[in-house]
């Protein structure tokens, strides 16, 4: 009885805290980067790699790698238009 209540409470707390997980942010950034980059490049979601690590000072380091088959041809507007 007491233990079931404890496990339930623990689960709730841990589920809320999961939002701090770096891989959660990495997946989120990856999907947004793919959306943004696909305006300029022809790539698949697997071509975008996002890695979040922590250095010795505790600062987050974001590494982004994207590769594509070809760049999209962009129409460039003349100056002043």
């Amino acid at each position: 009885m007491f233990k079931t209540r404890g496990i339930e409470k623990l689960k709730k707390i841990l589920i809320n805290d999961k939002h701090f997980h770096p891989s959660f942010f990495a997946d989120l950034i990856r999907s947004e980067m793919f959306k943004s980059l696909s305006n300029y490049m022809e790539l698949s979601p697997d071509d975008v790699l996002v890695n979040i690590s922590i250095d010795e000072k505790g600062e987050y380091v974001l590494r982004l790698k994207a590769k594509c088959q070809r760049l999209k041809i962009m129409g460039i507007l003349p100056k002043g238009v």
């Binding site: 007491f2 404890g6 841990l14 805290d17 701090f20």
Partner: protein, 265 residues
Amino acid sequence: MARKIVITSGKGGVGKTTICVNLGIALARQGLRVMLLDVDIGLNNLDVVSGVENRVVFDIVDIIEGKCRPTQALVQHPNFPSLYILPSAHSYNVGKVDGNTLRAVVNGLSNNFDYILIDCPAGIELGFHRAVFCANEAIIVTTPHISAVRDANKVASLLNGYYLNEISLVCNRLRADLVLSNNMLKAKEVASSLNLKLLGIIPESDEISSSSSIYGDGIAIDEQSERAFNVLANNLHSGSNEMFDYTQKYKGFFAKIKNKLKRRF
């Protein structure tokens, strides 16, 4: 090349230093060369818990400042010859000790040992990151209390960012009577909540508590704790997955009657 393992928890008072010392002793008993490194600069206790505080001449900061060689600062344990302690400084401007320098010291000593156990400070501040930066594996210590498990979860999330080879869990201070009467979480339940591999179970020990209160050292002197630490050391060294049965003396007909009477009076 030594296995460099950081012993961390997030929450203070869960038994990081005690587990660091006793795990080191259990490994040293198997004939392995072990170094215990105290990274808790300013609030160091590893020398006291291991009982070598009177033998300390140099510390980690003396090495960093070039006052001594790393091997000169090592303190050999009087009772366990293959166990060495590298103490931390009592008071120091911690800003001078950065993760890269500390890692260089650890890597320099790595060839002389089989295991380097790094005692991490509580919290997730700079000291935590410095300690984790030196390691390639981590052991998270927690007690079966919700606040400690929550902090262990946060620490596990942070450790994911370091891409360590392995992150495992040790559940400390379990009480068999409370677990059997469903008034305390089991170690397996804690491990599954955290999604971590359970490396070992350490039961609550009155002997360790009173030893740390009276003598200052937290070396396991009772048979049950000693056996629990030996099982933990075996799991770490050989990769086995055996769990110490701390509920044994509470099982059986007579044990149940004895415990019921004990609780009533």
